[in-house]
Structures are given as structure tokens and as C-alpha cells.
Amino acid sequence: MSSVMTAVTSFFTTTDPLFLWLSGAALGLLVVATLIGAVLAYRVRTPAGRDTVRNLNARIRSWWVMVALFAAAMLLGSVVTLVLFTLLSYLALREFLTLTPTRRGDHAGLFLSFFVVVPLQYWLIGVGWYGLFSIFIPVYVFMALPSLSVLGADATDFLTRTAKAQWGLMLAVYCTSHAPALLWLDIPGYRLPSALLLLYLMTVAQLSDVFQYVFGKLWGKTRLSPGISPSKTVEGLIGGGLTAVAIGTALHVITPFTPLQAAGMSLTIVTAGFFGGFVLSAMKRDLGVKDWGTMIEGHGGVLDRLDSIVFSAPLFFHLTRYWFT
């Protein structure tokens, strides 16, 4: 019993207090959301309302799992975080290619994409080989894939097949891998663990999503683009986006940024997050599906949850790397 107490005490004394505060805040937010969800489930009467509340509660349940997973990975260290993202990239690529037409000739290239490109991209982050990490997929892999496919001697939809496989790698692997790469940034004068930068990116991007959903449900009237994403509204985007920027500015204490710089960074994350989600919605429309997958209850697939990260992670990574290292 006493050894457990010692472990708990040492956990709280050695872990960064800011990390504890943030975890506490996330925990509090989730508890409040869960309570609101329970009250709504008890009070709602209409069938349509019941559906909305059921979906809301499914989303909240999945948030518990996702937050727990991330907190665990970050506490266990950067290598575990890297492994988690490797797995996420693998699952996201699997979702993307499931919905994408491929032909026999693409088989070898796709095999290599899953079992060589995905681990190699994350290995490059782990060993800190920035130069190759940033060009490996867009230069080498983008030439290797069509070269392998062309050996199949099948010109049917060749350009379409090549482009789709490359976009799958770009979104699910290349873009996504910039999020854990934040952990390897060496920022002079920044004394906090760089896992907090990843936490900052995820918090601002995901809260922007959550608040856009909440603002849209409560006050949404003007549809932004019914042909691409029927649930997105102007009110939701502005209200949710500004709320996320405000939170991102307040969170400057965990970053190397001044409040003004943090505001600029969160505005970038929110804007890129919005366009990431918007572009992926258009792709889903094109492929004739509503969600990328069914893995996360209430959220769809892994790629549905990563869509706000795919564009914002590389931007946030490069802005931070250029200006602060």
C-alpha cells in the first residue's frame, strides 16, 4: 500500500505541474460534458432529439478513450507517442485505401506503403533525421509508387490511381507525422517538455472542432457549403473558431510563444484545421461515403478525427521550427 502511495506521490512531484493542470482541466471538461449528456438523455423527449443526444454521448464516451490514450502515451514518453502515431497513420491509410479503387498492378506498391513507408517515416523522426523526414514521402516514395505500378502494365485509370494512393500517403502518413515530430524540436530557452507543443496543437485543433459543433448546434443558421459538408455553419465556424483561438491564446503559458504569437499560432491551427476537415469532407463526398470508417463510436473513423490535424500539424511544425529553433 505504501509503495503505491510513494509511486503516486513521486508521480505528482516529478510530473510537470502544467501538464497536471491541463490534464485536470481536460478531465473537468469531460466530467461536465458527461454530466450534461446524462441530463440531456434523461430530459429529451422527441425522437430526433434522442438521436442527437445519443450521438453526443457516443462522442463524449469516445473522447474519454482518446484523452486517456494520449495522456498515457505522453506520460510514457516520446517513443510511445511515436508508436501511437505510427498505428494511427496505419489505420488512417487503411481507411483511405479501403474507399479508393485500386488494381492488381498497385499491389506491391501498396504493400510497401503500409509496411515500409509508414514505419520508416516515423523511424526518421525517432532518429532525428529531419532532412530525409521532410522529403522521404514527397520525393522518393512519390516516384517509387508509380514506378512499381507501371510494371503491372495496366494503364486503366493510371493517373487517378497514382494520385489517390499518393494523397492517401500524404494525408494519413506525411502530414500526420508532423504532429509527433514536434517532440523532437529543440527550442532554445523553452524549459518545458516539448510534448506540451503536441498537446497544444491537439487541444486547439480538437477544441475548435468541438466548439464549432456546439456553436453550430445551438446557433447555426447559415449553411457554409451544403454541397460539401451539410453540418458546417458560418455561426459555428466563427463562434467555435474564436473560442478555440481564445483558449489557444490563454494556453501560451505552456508554449515558447508570447500571447500575441500564441494567438497567431492558434488562428493558423484553427484555419488549417477547418480547411483540412473541409477538404476531407469533399473527398468523402466524391467517394460516396459519410464517414471514413466506423472505428470510433460517434466519430466515424480515425481519419474523421485526424482531419483537423492533417493540414495544421505540418504548418504548426514548420512555423515553430522556422521562428523558434
Binding site: 496505419y90 487503411r94 481507411e95 485505401l97 479501403t98 474507399l99 479508393t100 479503387p101 485500386t102 488494381r103 492488381r104 499491389h107 506491391a108 501498396l110 504493400f111 503500409f114 463526398r285 467517394l287 460516396g288 461515403v289 459519410k290 464517414d291 470508417g293 466506423t294
Partner: protein, 224 residues
């Protein structure tokens, strides 16, 4: 020693199957209930049996027996341990020398209240469904109270196309359709055609498809 490792090996195999191909179940016309059933599925790759087993709820999986070829799966102690010990397979002689014994063994499983998984095409397809062999007909005549549930395995032919040694992980869905209604006095050929049609009809537009978009899903387009 082998029996000790079987639960671990079974969980490992099923977990690996889910990591590679998802193996999601979609119950479209039948429910996952424990009644004697003949699940008949399209044969797309070496992973078919594992994928259907991984898609079944654990309670049903324990009472479901895939029918597998004795000449291959009975070939060594390890193969036998995997097929019989891990996956409850019923090994049958497919050479045609012991047709009566094979039928007896399959009927015994159904009569004990448990279920079977059959691949009535006999051979691996390329995404299309081949004509059925007659075993399904004879078994349904022998055990008329067993439900005949079609299971369409979607996408798995893209994971491991015939003649390709490499495996590409894609999400595969097992579509469990409505049980075939019995038709009194139906001829063998008509029955086999109807059973095949029931399986093929499950390959239609996905339920997940957006109702506003009427284009067929991409996975199907590649099947042609």
C-alpha cells in the same frame, strides 16, 4: 503443450486478423443469435475463415465450426492445432471418397445445435461469385431446420488477390444476410442458384453510403 498455447494463439490470430482487415460484422437481415446455422460465404482469399470467425461475437464463435480441407489442415500437427484447436474447424475429406462420412459429420454438428461455415464455390474467386457446388443442397436437405445464412465477404479479394504473395491491409466487412426461406420441392439447381443470388445481392450498395450519392461504392467498382 500445444493445448496450453491454443487460447493465446487463437487471440493472437484473431487480433492480427482485425489489425490487418478490420473484420467488421454487418447484420443485414439476420441477428447474431445462437441457433444451428449454415453460414455460406464467398471464397476470396486464405483469410476468409479467420475473417468470418473474427467478425462473429465470441459466444457464437465458440459454437461455430468452419469446414476445412483435411488434406491440407490435417497435414501436420501444427496445422491441425491451428485449425481444430484454435478455430474449431471441422476437417473433411474433399477427395470425394468419403462423401457419406463428410455429410454425417456436418449434420452431427448442426444437430447438436451448433453452426458451420461453408464456402460453396469450392474455389477462390477474383471478386465475382462462382456457381455453387452441390454440398450445400444436400446438407440443407439432410438438416432442414438449420438456417441458411449468406455471408458476403467484402473487399477481402483486394487484400490478397489470387497469385499475390503480399498482403495489403484494407477494411473488410462481413455482411450477414437474411436466412434463405425454405421452398417445398425445390430442385437442386434452382436451390443453388437462389442461394448464390442471395449471396450476390448482399454485394449491393453499402448501407454506409450517403443516400444523396447514387454512385456505387469504390470497393465494388474494382470488383469488375
Amino acid at each position: 503443450m500445444i493445448p496450453l498455447f491454443q487460447p493465446a494463439l487463437r487471440h493472437g490470430l484473431l487480433g492480427l486478423t482485425r489489425l490487418l482487415v478490420g473484420a467488421r460484422a454487418s447484420w443485414e437481415g439476420s441477428a447474431p443469435v445462437d441457433v444451428p446455422r449454415i453460414y455460406f460465404a464467398n471464397h476470396t482469399s486464405h483469410l476468409d475463415t479467420l475473417a468470418v470467425m473474427a467478425a462473429l461475437p465470441a459466444k457464437l464463435r465458440a459454437r461455430t465450426h468452419p469446414v476445412a480441407a483435411l488434406d491440407y489442415w490435417g497435414g501436420s500437427a501444427l496445422r491441425r492445432a491451428v485449425a481444430v484447436g484454435c478455430l474449431n474447424a471441422l476437417l473433411v475429406d474433399r477427395t470425394g471418397k468419403a462423401t457419406a462420412e463428410v455429410m454425417d459429420a456436418m449434420a452431427a454438428v448442426l444437430e447438436s445445435g451448433q453452426s458451420l461455415i461453408l464456402f460453396p464455390e469450392g474455389t477462390r474467386g477474383d471478386g465475382t461469385v462462382a456457381p455453387f457446388k452441390s454440398g450445400l443442397y444436400h446438407l440443407s436437405q439432410r438438416v432442414p431446420n438449420a438456417e441458411l445464412v449468406p455471408v458476403f465477404i467484402e473487399n477481402l479479394h483486394r487484400v490478397m488477390p489470387k497469385g499475390m504473395p503480399l498482403l495489403v491491409p484494407l477494411i473488410c466487412t462481413m455482411r450477414f444476410g437474411a436466412p434463405l426461406e425454405p421452398v417445398a420441392g425445390e430442385e437442386k439447381a434452382a436451390f443453388l442458384e437462389r442461394a448464390r443470388d442471395a449471396l450476390v445481392s448482399l454485394s449491393g450498395p453499402k448501407s454506409q453510403s450517403n443516400p444523396q450519392s447514387n454512385s456505387p461504392s469504390s470497393g465494388q467498382r474494382t470488383a469488375q
